[in-house]
Amino acid sequence: MISEQVYAPFSLCNKKILVTGASSGIGRAVAIECSKNGATVILTARDKARLEQTYNSLTAGDHASYCADLTDESEVQSLAGQVPQVDGIVHCAGIMETLLFQFVKKEQLQQIMEVNFLSPVLLTQHLLEQKKLRKNSSIVFISSIAGVTCSGIGNSMYSASKGAINGIIKGMALDLAPKNIRVNSVIPGMIETGFFKEGLISESQVAEDKNRYPLKRYGKPEEVAFAAIYLLSDAAGWVTGSNLLIDGGYTLL
């Protein structure tokens, strides 16, 4: 085959990649870009119609798609059972709530920890248990600068959930190194998705916030996808336990 002779260390040819949160935003971009880079992708999220939109945007291939609520233990079990063996996972499912710390209640804290921290971690554990992660696999978490290098107003719960991811990947990276499975995260600054649809930040506040970025704009979902692709590819074969910062220079100031 010609493709084997081509020099393409960043290619995802012959790799199967599971993408969570694939029905929207970053997850959708990750799925599409992975398919463009030669991967076979397996999509998952709760919303069937939006998941289908992503599926229809993939470049042709033997892709698959499964609906699942990742906070539902039995759905996670069954998802882990149904998916084929993969060479990588990109955990993109996540939620955000802008809530000043003085209003934080156990219920909201539990919900955000469940979606952003427990779900991706437990899904990974189930996949490992069911031998669904091939040797040389790469696990990528879409974390955030929030909770790892900084935080934001009303962002304490979210930061905690991402900080927890940051902690666990270090331990996972060590424990899975003997299998040559790598575990990393991408830590993006603000990305243009529908993530702030809750509307607690006004348009002028958003404009002001963008202006704080040295590169004077928010990131694009594809720009996060490219980072994930690097971590999934053989080019990152010696990269594990790291956080890849993609933030337009935000945390320099």
């Binding site: 809530l99 000043l100 209003f103 009303g154 809750e198 509307g199 607690l200 006004s202 348009e203």
Partner: protein, 74 residues
Amino acid sequence: MELNDFIKDFADQFDETDFSEFAAETKFRELEEWSSLTGLALLNMIKAKYKIHVTAEQLLKISTIGELFNFIQQ
């Protein structure tokens, strides 16, 4: 929902301003202590206590405490 209770909840989001400064006709953005952070605190308080989701853009169109009270009553 009583206007007086709402005024109290509104005033609770401030630390320095004297309670006597809060009334239905108070233009809250003119209060010295007002900031975008107080704005977010108000939205969080209204959601937690009155179970109503007010957005930042909606709040921008409102100038007095009484108007905000009427808005969330609708």
